[in-house]
């Protein structure tokens, strides 16, 4: 069982701003699902943004190794090619660019980086169709602008569809459950579970336990004030659901 991600004493702050991550340590191995929970403002979304290479944050200390490489030296697109996928909490709208053209550009760039030829139109459309089925997306979405006019649930399904298209080594899902109704939650959760394999891993960032009914984690970490203050098995989620975070924070 190889190690996919290793975070060692990671400190990060808003550019020229206050420190948000204050020494994160985390190891994610192949085949594992890790959940990161924590109250608002604890640094969950910052962690996902830093891992994806968002330049509004700067790393001040620590190391992140991804598949044996120094992740922090890579540009956002290099991280994507290496196998890091971020499911956005707020997927971005791109008017004028259809979902199909967007994914074609992404998939072919990934293939190019791996030295593979581009997919032809027929191969690509077949792949689109297969992957859309995983999240029960209507084919009409492929010709619509990326996320333009999509409902909250449709946007999140689109994220999981894109994840399926790119088959990442590590999927970081940032509050994918926010703004979802029960049906969308089930579709998204089942989609993520369907994409699980012994070779990949997921980092599921969530505020609530309910998503974890569908994506069952191996480990749960509680993030508070920029540090992981507790790590336990999946039963921790139920305890948090029942008692909140205070008992951990004040422990």
């Amino acid at each position: 069982m190889g190690t996919i991600l290793e975070i060692n004493n990671l400190h990060a702050r808003l550019k020229e701003g206050r420190e948000i991550l204050k020494g994160i340590n985390l190891t994610v191995n192949e085949g594992e699902v890790h959940a990161i929970m924590g109250p608002n403002g604890s640094g969950k979304s910052t962690l996902s943004a830093v891992l994806a290479g968002r330049d509004t944050f700067e790393v001040t200390e620590g190391e992140v190794t991804f598949m044996g490489e120094n992740l922090l030296e890579m540009s956002p697109e290099q991280r994507s090619w290496a196998g890091v996928f971020l499911g956005f909490q707020y997927p971005v709208e791109i008017p004028g660019v259809t979902n199909t053209n967007f994914m074609k550009a992404a998939v072919n760039e990934h293939r190019k980086q791996k030295g593979l030829p581009e997919l032809n139109a027929a191969q690509f459309l077949k792949m689109m169709k297969e992957k859309m089925a995983i999240v029960q997306m209507n084919s009409s979405f492929s010709s619509r602008g990326v996320n333009v006019g999509f409902s909250g649930g449709e946007k999140k399904r689109n994220e999981i569809f894109q994840m399926a298209m790119l088959s990442p080594k590590l999927a970081i899902l940032d509050e994918t459950d926010s703004g979802l109704d029960v049906d969308a939650l089930r579709i998204v959760g089942n989609g993520v579970t369907a994409l699980k394999s012994p070779e990949n891993a997921s980092l599921v960032i969530t505020h609530y336990q309910r998503l974890l009914d569908y994506i069952v984690p191996d480990v749960i970490h509680v993030l508070y004030d920029g540090r992981i203050i507790k790590t336990a098995g999946k039963e921790l989620a139920l305890e948090i659901e029942e008692k909140g975070y205070d008992w951990i924070i004040n422990a």
């Binding site: 994806a52 120094n70 890579m74 540009s75 956002p76 697109e77 991280r79 956005f88 550009a105």
Partner: protein, 489 residues
Amino acid sequence: MKQEDLKKSNRTIEEIYSSEYKEGFVTDIEQEFIPKGLSEDIIRLISHKKEEPQWLLDFRLEAFRKWQKMKMPSWGHLNIPEIDYQDIIYYAAPSKKPAVNEDGSKKEIDPELARTFDKLGIPLHERDILAGVAVDAVFDSVSVKTTFREALNEKGIIFCSFSEAVKEHPELVKKYLASVVPSGDNFFSALNSAVFSDGSFVYIPKGVKCPMELSSYFRINAKGTGQFERTLIVADEGSYVSYLEGCTAPQRDENQLHAAVVEIVIEKDATVKYSTVQNWYPGDKDGKGGIYNFVTKRGICKGSGSKLFWAQVESGSAITWKYPSTILKGDNTVSEFYSVAITNNYQQADTGTKMIHIGKNSRSRIVSKGISAGRSQNSYRGLVKVLPGAEGVVNFSQCDSLLIGDKCGAHTFPYIDCANPDAVLEHEATTSKISEDQLFYCQQRGIKAEDAVGLIVNGYAKEVLGKLPMEFAVEAQKLLSLSLEGSIG
């Protein structure tokens, strides 16, 4: 991964746009010039060099006298530095005169010129040429070659340089010259009428559908010169032609002037498609150099049922002042204007159209897409005018602006002047921005920032690019991405 790669791909919007202008080379060829400056003597000299008839010289002199009394227009949203019209050379031509066959057609072109046009992707040997496209190649002040002349001639189509048309078809030139754009129409049309050098002449006879795309390629080469293109297109009853013009110029620190006049006359039931891919040197990333592109283009849908379709991609020039317009004179006439104007660095563009509805049930459509990056200023200026007798007029206008970065400007100045309450006029406008969030989203999916901008910009301009002749749409698409290179950081 190297630190340098990281820097390169982690640039923000501010940095992606200082592109390499691929057409910025100079052709080293012996050229003849006339002395710089503008006077009646200079105009006489130009006319003499072109061996023109007296009536044309008179036309030029009359225009010059009008021009002397006129002032440069200042209503554009443009900051135009003072232009010294006495410091410009008004005529420059390759000095090796191409030999002329007995039938008046030119012999093989100077190999150095042929190489220049080859390099620009405009092969002038018919065997190498783009299938189905005839080209008139204009180098500084003269047309150096017109391809497929004979083949077109068999159908009665006249496609030649303007200078040749003056010699070979004086009756047509005399009839239509300045019939759409009078010499005194504006400051630049008067200047052009006084000193125009060369351009294309097209005549499509009654009922003839032109079997190939006609195109003109304008190249400025000589230093210190201006180019004064004059093009005249006449489509007789029931005919059809699709015409495209392209242009480029060397990369220089000085500014050069291109002041063109294009006139299009469309008779009953005829259709003209006029497409432009304007790629004059835009100046460098600090705004040094570049072409001043001050152009008057106008067509008249004279006969009933005639149609004029404009499609333009404006990516070059330091300053663009250009409003291709249509006078919808006949009943049931139709005109459309589709435009993408892209400005980067310190470029300025004030461009749009005028649709003048005179005929009954005349219809027009305006789709304008402005893209501003860097520190550029991009304005749409349009007029929809409906005269009292024009019943049943319909116009739809859509003006969209896309901003890249936060130091550029986008402006729209739509004017409506409607004297017939029966008209149905619609106007829509949007402004959007390529955000850091959109770029990061694309990058996270593995799409490089530059490619992401290309994807977004081409998606935005798709509707207009679709109106260009197929052979050129792909080129135009590449041009859009190239023009924006270096605009993201």
